[in-house]
Amino acid sequence: MQNMKFLLCALAVAAVSFCHAGLVAECYGRKAFIRGEKNVSLQVEVRKSSKKKISALRVNGTFAGKSFELKFKKIGSCIAKVDIPLETRLIPGWYPLTFTAVDDSGNKIAKSVKIGIAARRHDKMPVLMIGGFKEFERFREIGFTGQMGIREYHSTPSEIFLFDRDKLPSSDEIRKKIGEMTGDLDNYLMENYETLDHFTVELSRLRHRFIRVNHEGTKLPRIMDAADPEVVRQLKETAQRVKKEFPAHPAVIGVRFNTEMRDAVVPSFTGWEQKAYKDFAGVDIPREAKENLPPHYSQIADFPVSRVVPENHPVLKYYRWFWKQGDGWNPLNSALSDIFRKNALPGFFTAFGPGLRVPQLWGSGGNTDIVYHWTYPYPEPLNIGVNNAQIRAMARGNNRQIMNMTQLIAYRNRTAPIGQKTEKTPQWVKEYPVAPYITVAPDLLEIAVWTQLSRQTQGMLFHGSASLIPYEKAMKKRHKGYQYTNSEMQQRLKYLLHNVVKPYGPLLKRIPERPAKIAILESYSSAFFAGRGTWGSAGWIWDTHLMMLWANLAPAVVYEETLIRDGFGDIEVLVMPHCDVLTEKTFNAIRKFQKNGGIIVADHYLVPALTPDIVIEEYIRTRDPRKDKAQLQKAGLELKKALRPFYTPYTDTGDPDLVTWVRSSGDADYLFAVNDKRTFGDYWGMYGKVMEKSVPHNGNVTVSRSAGAVYDLLKKKKLVFSSSGKKTVIPLKFNDNTGKMLLILPEELGSAVLSIPSKVRRGEEMDAEWKIFYRSGKKVSGLLPVGMEVFDSKGVKTDDSTFAVAQNGKCTAKIAVPLNGAKGKWRVKFTDLVSGGSVEKIFQVED
């Protein structure tokens, strides 16, 4: 905190230009840089206070104890733009830069600026708060690596250029805001914190001007007409302006586009969509196109009895076009993504979410690098497992990466309805009787986070900052907004982020998913013609998925497009809930799959031209969470039993409350186990809506493989297990936690070898190579988590210390000794984060 105050003061001083003997100097742009960052400089503008031209300029000064002199000739302009090159191979911290600029007339200006050298960046799992406050330290302490919104939700670089006011800001105002925000970003960089930009028409005046009009001519003010070429032109221009005028900053790791804009789209009759469709299809929009989906198949004349429709069915064709490109949002987001990605800093990503509030067709959010969706971890915390599989299916269309987002807020009506009488009123209700959004229950959050960690994602997003930490501004209005009603949730999240996500994050990002042998088909043609689909949150398809998770059947999700383009792959069982309608291509592919030995599981809605091998009955929830869970678990176990002759899941617990997921890499199976045994607790339980309290639980997990060693990664110790043939049984005990991460290997890990040079000069880099073998001496295959710590000759841990991943038993890391690092004996230590075994070596740092 002390550092931060100092930084803010320094930046304030730096921002103030002062005049001396006829010259004015102003430093702009970044003033903080990553250690080792190349080709960086401080940007300075020097001008004469008389506004006359400067012909030549001499700048001399000192930075980090070293002097420099720069000469600029033939300037011939009122403003001399000067770049002062900076040495960044320094120990992280603040360094004074003082300089004097003298022009050809002998006018002088002296200036002093603090330059920040930030710690080196390493691979990590991004953990981002969507939202956040100015006091970001509170989030960083919990384990967040960044937030969207530098000071608050909409305070981002793009916000400066997306004006939502009648009077456009002047260029001076924009410049001032860029300067302030760059200062904030420098601060983030120094504090090892990051931010996500937010480019959204929510902030743009355009949304009030270009509104959609439905088939009856009614204006729909909330939903902008994103297909209007003028909208596209203006937003692209704005994005280009952001790119051009806001200096690329390594603390800005990505940008999110236009969230929640498609939720209420309906065909728009402003002219653009009609014309675009005519250009696309050669025919007019069909008369059935009124709502966001076509009428139910029973309302469409001559709908085939088979409920199998040709790909060129006029209504299907229109709505497929509408959802993929016609409403304008996917192409718009693609165009914005292309602009932001062009010449972006390494690692910068574009993101879109919620990506599942659409029919099950590829392309949600356009071609952004990341597509994500958000999940409420109640009434079932396994919900996030469903969303993960769904968003993965969506991303597969154009090979995008995925993230998951967990909601830290809970809706009162779903958890603890306002005004509902209970035998015992909990204390938080007395304090916040009418708060509409409250803190999610800690145990549910914990199970949800474990469930997310078990799946491969490229980042973890959270939303609901004011329900995570007490925030005075929110607490002043207890009757509205997000409220902080449970302090325990924050502690749980903090524990997981520090003890699991931080050390194992690089590994968790990389361990691949196993190829699915059983998959749920989510059919877009059924979404169109029968109103099916989960829209990313609920319904029978959702519940089918949940019951399969409880049964440890580990399903993937496939779209019709997946089956047509990529085939069935390793899939042996296709589960088809709510598949009332299929396209011809999908139907033919499924028939072929079944003829070739594939098994179909379906409910009675299945298209009549297919014969399901196993029938499941749609379950209608009663809103009694205990009964609903029990019934779905029972149905899951029955399905597993029916599938037994045809399909053996890779893991099984025989207990639907012990839910497993495996990811594999080489010999290594990472087995995640979650305890989902819950009851009604004392936070929400009295309302009977959600079983929010975990219950200790024991059991065994059986894995269909042989094993020589099983490790509990968090405890970094070997577990007792039995293995015979292709079957390994591992006892699991959940007392005070809800999740476990185990590693199954063919044999125990043996010793590790560390190779480093014996000496290195200050300012230079060296390679450290760590190798580990099985106890037998055999080479390890797959990914393993590793921690590297580097200590200087004074015993101070340096910023080269990091968590990493060893591939096939080998990890190579760079150690960069700062120019001003302490001379003498340095120490490097590698720890395998599986068994806890470590190896260390000394090297000499010299000039």
């Binding site: 014969t611 091998d613 045809f646």
Partner: protein, 316 residues
């Protein structure tokens, strides 16, 4: 021997499949399929596999299908009926009629689709009426009633939407109809319209009373059709060009009669639950007298009923 073979196949196939994977399901010999299908003790999954494989293998599967439409397994019955219909068209009529009583949802759903797809004519009408009377699946029965047995449909156009009327319309009066003491009757079989419940003179004294609001709030945990009736006194006549009924919210679908005349419908399916609508009643409205408003409401999920107020809107 055949019995032994059948028992052996039924017992050993699952174990065999577990051992070798799904390749064993790929192609069972026809005789093995026949045995599996005939044996009622065979696991239903294996019977279905046998049936679909036989269906693929048989060049002339009529006999197979004749048995299939009577099979104990609804999955096989449905596929049998579907194949019959797609192969024979109207010639499948006897099989369709025979399936009217089928208790299975999927068979009933297929049946009504087949009935609708039949050419317009006596057979189609007979089949639909038969489904409307006998189907054991309520949803299907309702649909059949709607198609074959519920003739009420009217395009109700507001004066404001009449392209030939190019004058401004100004609201001169808005009269809220009572929120309490409507008459209410459930219609789970969707057949009360046959009893003339929408007629002005219909005696509704035995109906329950209900207030505006979702019917669940009044103790009716029910999805389906229900009728509302309200007698109200109209104001004295004022100068006007149009009189409309304004429904602020009916969850989900509504059919409306005024003084025994069908006025129109609000039929957007599930999406209609929160969408207000107007119906023009200029011709049917009785100024200064008692009027009888009848509303048939269908709700298919969650809460249902007339849950927001209804008013008379008078325009000039």
């Amino acid at each position: 021997l055949k019995v032994l073979y059948g028992i052996g196949a039924a017992l050993l196939l699952p174990a065999f499949c577990t051992a070798v994977g799904n390749s064993a399901v790929r192609q069972l010999p026809p005789e093995k399929c026949m045995v599996l299908l005939k044996d009622s003790k065979t696991d239903p999954v294996w019977r279905r596999i046998a049936f679909r494989q036989l269906l693929d293998q048989e060049k002339n599967p009529e006999k197979l299908l004749e048995k299939a439409v009577k099979d104990k397994d609804p999955v096989i019955r449905r596929r049998g009926l579907y194949e019959m219909f797609t192969r024979k068209g109207a010639g499948a009529y006897p099989y369709l009629m025979a399936a009217v009583n089928d208790r299975d949802h999927s068979v009933a759903e297929l049946l009504i689709r087949c009935a609708i797809a039949l050419p317009q004519g006596e057979q189609r009408q007979q089949l639909l009426k038969s489904i409307a009377r006998k189907s054991r699946v309520l949803r299907v029965r309702r649909e059949a009633v709607r198609i074959a047995d519920f003739p009420f449909y009217r395009e109700n156009r507001r004066l404001a939407d009449d392209p030939a009327y190019d004058h401004d319309l100004i609201k001169v009066k808005s009269v809220m109809l009572p929120l309490k003491n409507w008459k209410f009757l459930l219609d789970p079989l969707a057949d009360k319209h046959h009893k003339g419940v929408f007629k002005s003179a219909f005696n509704d004294s035995k109906w329950k009373k209900i207030n505006i609001g979702h019917w669940e709030k009044h103790g009716y945990k029910y999805n389906g059709i229900a009728w509302y009736r309200l007698k109200f006194n109209a104001p004295e006549k004022v100068k006007h060009n149009a009189v409309e009924l304004y429904f602020r919210g009916v969850d989900e679908t509504a059919w409306v009669w005024l003084n025994g005349t069908f006025i129109g419908q609000h039929d957007l399916g599930k999406k209609g639950w929160n969408k207000p609508f107007y119906l023009d009643v200029t011709k049917e409205f009785l100024w200064g007298k008692e009027n009888v408003l009848t509303v048939r409401v269908e709700d298919t999920e969650n809460a249902g009923g007339i849950w927001q107020g209804v008013s008379l809107e008078i325009w000039k």
